[in-house]
Subunit: 206 residues, 2 copies
DNA sequence: CCACGGATATTGACGGTGTCAATATTGGAT
DNA sequence: ATCCAATATTGACACCGTCAATATCCGTGG
């Protein structure tokens, strides 16, 4: 027993969870450059190499955060879609645009890692992050194709191609906002309006 | 004299230029994680702190690379615009889309740093990088406004807003390509086609 | 009930990194 | 020819990621 006065036990109990949460906290509150495994461990009153029992290395930890981000993203978008399914048409498109950009802004510590993580380049297609993320993209394509079959959107549209462009648009605007290139956050509503107009124009069946 | 057999002089001559070029080379050929000031200096046969005479710190060096990227970007886009000014209409939009994405792909070591660099967040609006970059964006807005006055594009379009969306779209698609999210580089032409269709639809005066 | 094995945590060590301070060398203006 | 500002160097320090060897703990089968 190292120190009987200390209430901390040798085994943490749920260190993996604690690591993920504390990492997200550091990223959100202090930025990526402030994240080191050693500080992380110290904050959790744990030795510097303890995290290595749960993550192969720092990159794997960041990858896990990214994956968690995709799960949160999926949940947020599903909720938004349910919330405004009845709207239909341009307003529904606006709601989705808005939900995407809001998610990115409210979860930047996750969003920053979701793309740009090296797992995407990895040759191994089994890679957990890429599998999760690609599944989510594919689901988007399927959802639109279903609406297309129902005659709710332009039947001539190449949906797969459209989704690539539409995802790119939302991702790009989010990145420019997060990176401080677009600073006027007061005009986000207008920005989303213009975006939604453009995207809906592609979907509009009539 | 440190070593009379060595032909290297105490003063390098044009170390600043050499640092910028070697940094770009390392980034391109070995990736950002392989870049350290010490290795950089070693490659140039110079002591580890020599670069500090030319750049305040590592971040400033990366910022300088980013700024160089914006200058290259400006040149590339100007050339593309001159090359296809006569096309007009959708084809001209396609050419611009294509030029943007090609630039990003061919200059990823610069492109990666142009956005995402911390200089953007910097409160100081005098910051060289942000000034350069915002000037380039502004020029884009002016160019479109001129075409609008000439009746070449939709007079009802809010150009400033449109440019934000259009820049976002191109940036987002480029990032997804660079980050390996979109892997099918064979279909880039089609991707650009869809993008150009969508963007031109906004500009089309009638 | 206990012993034991796998999961989990620890300390020690190593090489690498950014950057400051103090010092040395140089080339060009006076 | 001399002095100064620009440029380069060595030394030092505090961090960092990660490996190897070791310690501790908990659950499970005997």
């Amino acid at each position: 027993m190292p120190n009987s006065l200390q209430q901390t036990k040798y085994h943490h109990g749920d260190l993996k969870r604690a690591i993920l949460d504390e990492t997200a906290r550091i990223l959100r509150e202090e930025g990526e450059s402030a994240l080191s495994l050693r500080r992380l461990a110290a904050n959790l009153n744990v030795s510097r190499t303890a995290p290595y029992n749960h993550f192969k290395n720092k990159e794997a930890l960041l990858s896990a955060i990214a994956e968690e981000g995709f799960l949160r993203y999926e949940a947020a978008m599903k909720a938004a879609q349910k919330r405004c399914r009845k709207l239909g048409g341009r307003d529904q498109t606006y709601a989705v645009v808005r939900a995407y950009i809001d998610f990115a802004r409210k979860n930047r510590e996750y969003y920053d890692l979701m793309y740009g993580s090296k797992s995407w380049h990895c040759a191994d297609p089994q890679e957990s992050l890429a599998v999760t993320a690609r599944g989510i993209l594919r689901a988007d394509v399927e959802r639109l194709k279903r609406r297309q079959t129902l005659g709710k959107i332009n039947p001539n549209l190449d949906v797969s191609r459209y989704v690539q462009v539409y995802w790119g648009t939302l991702h790009g605007i989010s990145r420019l906002l997060l990176d401080g290139v677009y600073t006027d956050s007061a005009s986000i509503k207008k920005l989303c309006d213009t975006t939604a107009d453009m995207l809906w124009q592609q979907l509009d069946p009539g």
